[in-house]
Symmetry: C2
Subunit: 492 residues, 2 copies
């Protein structure tokens, strides 16, 4: 579909209805073939895509820097993360680890049939890419990698913040797919809000992946759920990412904690869904003062888009926020530049205005909340909205307290971090990047890590089939050598 997408991007125009229909038809036409391609074959294609992107890194980074101002080193790191992600899923499907086979052997004495269950690709999926990761959560990003690995053709709705990067990425991938002998329509890119809306309601699309704002997610999720045949909508949205500093940690290493906090808060001009929006510290002077000093010395920078900049300004102009005392305000220069700011509230003040204060301000704005007694946090934490992460800083002599706090956080966040900061999500097997609303729309799923692939798969149980008609993954002699869970039949 390079033919359908490149002109749009080159001209900066939205994808029209006819082009979109062509893209959907192309995706649907190859869905069964791609779903039934053996894992190692899908893996080779993913690796070819990763190699193609790595080879084009200079061009890709130049295009993205011009559109997002994220800077060369950050963007190079992001391309590496993106290709690493493709290779991780390639490794996963080479081993058949996504198949999740469960076998129940027949038990005639209990009238129990032979039942064999595995996961299957659900069909073409739509992926909505994010503004803040022009590679890792965009055309070639995590949702695309996991969906392709699962066996689903992907149509990406490019983010309007980096259309040229999206078009270039699409072209690089198209060349890599062609080189690997795979259909180019495995990955297609479309442009414009209307094309995005049409994607979500088209019967050929079987699930949606989304990374972005709460408002954007709500609109698209409503479309997905109002279809004649509602489909899953997997959104990764905003998050306030509470960080709790326990008293002894605050007392023993205020400078280290203040350094880590300001670095995490201002990384990428604060434009991370894992940004530490709420920091809880004991109500004594040392750490607060250290944070104030570093906030005043911090520099912000150009935000991703004018729209994001305007939204950030509006969010810090809200009275509930702007009337709070400032611990420190940094500097910023340039177009659409945001300066770091850190404000202060007491735990009681947060309790009294939790909806207004415990919410994401996408940018370098942090709220430091002081507490007298850490046990009082146990009343507050269950009231916080769901987050992608929650962090605890503790010394070894306050581990009991740390354990109590952590237990209270397990139903509030998808990832719990010890003596660390939430920005920087490792792409690894065990990663969980999700959580209760509004951090994600489906708390049982993740958008980063090996299990992200499960969003694009659905189980099918085969009951009573002769061996020669079963998929290889379910045959009695296990020809693929998979790890399978087996409920044994009666012992002979």
């Amino acid at each position: 579909m390079a033919s359908a997408t490149e002109p749009s991007a080159a001209q900066g125009t939205d994808t029209g209805a006819a082009q979109l229909d062509e893209a959907l038809a192309a995706a649907a036409s190859i869905a069964t073939t791609w779903a039934s391609a053996p894992g190692p074959s899908r893996a080779r294609t993913l690796v070819a895509v990763a190699d193609g992107l790595d080879a084009a890194v200079d061009e890709l980074v130049a295009a993205a820097d011009a559109e997002t101002a994220l800077g060369d080193s950050r963007l190079r790191g992001e391309v590496a993360r993106t290709t690493g992600q493709l290779r991780m899923f390639a490794e996963l499907v080479t081993r058949g680890a996504e198949i999740d086979a469960i076998i129940t052997e027949a038990d005639p004495s209990a009238a129990r049939p032979d039942v064999r269950r595995m996961l299957y690709a659900i069909g073409p999926v739509a992926v909505f890419s994010a503004s803040n990761f022009p590679f890792a959560f965009s055309v070639a990003g995590g949702d695309t990698a996991s969906a392709l690995a699962a066996g689903c053709p992907v149509i990406v709705k490019a983010h309007e913040g980096h259309p040229r990067t999206s078009a270039l990425t699409t072209a690089v991938i198209a060349a890599a797919l062609a080189g690997a002998g795979a259909p180019e329509s495995l990955l297609q890119t479309v442009y414009g809000l209307e094309a995005g809306r049409r994607l979500v309601v088209d019967p050929r699309i079987r699930a949606v992946g989304f990374t972005g704002s709460i408002g954007g997610a709500q609109a698209l999720m409503a479309l997905a759920h109002s279809r004649a045949d509602p489909i899953p909508f997997y959104g990764e949205l905003g998050s306030v990412n509470p960080v709790i500093v326990l008293p002894h940690a605050a007392g023993s290493r205020p400078d280290t904690i203040a350094d880590g906090y300001i670095q995490s808060l201002t990384l990428g001009v604060g434009q991370y869904c894992t940004n530490p929006g709420l920091l809880f510290v004991p109500d004594d002077g040392g750490l607060l003062a250290a944070i104030g000093r570093r906030a005043r010395a911090a520099t912000g920078g150009t935000m991703l888009t004018e729209r994001i900049y305007q939204q950030f300004q509006r969010s810090v102009d809200e009275p509930a926020w702007s009337q709070l005392p400032e611990l420190g305000h940094g500097s910023a220069a340039g177009e659409r530049a945001a300066a770091p700011q850190v404000r202060h509230a007491t735990l009681d003040e947060l309790h009294g205005a939790i909806d207004a204060l415990a919410r994401e301000r996408f940018g370098p704005a942090g709220l430091v909340v002081t507490y007298d007694d850490p046990m009082c946090l146990l009343e507050l934490l269950p009231r916080l909205p769901g987050s992608l992460s929650a962090s605890v800083h503790a010394e070894s002599d306050e581990y009991e307290l740390a354990a109590t706090i952590a237990a209270a956080l397990t139903t509030r966040a998808g990832r719990l971090i010890f003596n660390g900061w939430p920005t920087g999500v490792a792409v690894c097997w065990a990663m969980q990047h999700g959580g209760p609303w509004p951090s994600s729309t489906e708390p049982s799923t993740t958008s980063v890590g090996a299990t992200a692939i499960r969003r694009w798969l659905a189980p099918v149980a085969w009951q009573g089939w002769p061996d020669e008609l079963l998929p290889q993954a379910l045959r009695r002699d296990n020809p693929l050598g998979l790890e399978r869970v087996v409920q044994p039949g009666p012992v002979a």
Copy 2:
């Protein structure tokens, strides 16, 4: 909460807002304790509940037969299925099989932290029980069993078709919980549509399980998704369950197939979500005639409720249905009694009216669709709505064709059956009871089988924690002896 629920049931009145609030508060108050109870302890409670139900089987069956007319032997079987289900989940959590631990060891050379992920109970859940299974999909049914096993307190909205059975089941469970030293508020039952609606929108409820009609699901799902914090809605709805009889199977054993079909179609007066609503057979006389004979000899019976009976009558009075030629019409006597009926359409006729004909008629009504060339089915099958099951009947000399048909069905149904019938869902580890809309609202989940428990769990990743602060399931020496997936760190 027996105090809150028994008076309602005894008086046949709906649960009021104050009683409901009391039930929700009770569920919320024990959620953390129950979620963190060790698996073997949760398992003992489930087994105590199962034992209590088994001991009360005579009373339970008498109550249910008076309300549903399902008959003694069917209902005894259903109680056994229900308690077997509780014991299956008890066994599962005794082994910790629901925890699904994945460990990523740190790799400092790749700046990769130590990340350890496991599943946690998501909090109190609401379960909407079904009309047609007063035990197995009701107060003590599959959703309750899997949610309790997962560590979630349950509030059941009783089906209005069997309130006394629901109240009696609740009382038996309350006694069993008390005897086991578990809080009675682990399982509470409420009555009435308004109480059901309030449950779904209450912030203390973290997910909804539902078994019932498409219309009922749509209304409640919209409520769940329109909350300020949308929650997962796991519905198991209607299904048309296509059955495809290939030519040689039809030719070689018409009587066996006709017998199996009519039995499956009329079982429980056709009131199963797995009822074989669409049967595809070759266009020749033998099998059609055999089906017609058995349909005319078949007897129906009293339906579950007056409302279901009226709905069935309306569904078979629709012109699209009633104008089709009848292959056979059976008999029925008694109050709200439905007679089996089997009608006939060609594949072309089905193509032309697929929305009207390829949909569930909840009751003993079957459509037999004749085809000339089985390859023409490959155009039709992708157009069918999602189903809980699809079945293929084939002889060994048409296995190639059977495999082609099965491949086309993997994205249309959650369970594929060979030379069998869809009614009767074995409760076993590998079972899949779900599928694309409208068979379920979340095709990646199941409401029967071991993996049903995953609906009530959400992952949490622990990043960088010292061993003594980790949950036992994630500690480095694996003290619970769990099967865990490990992404190893660098070899020393």
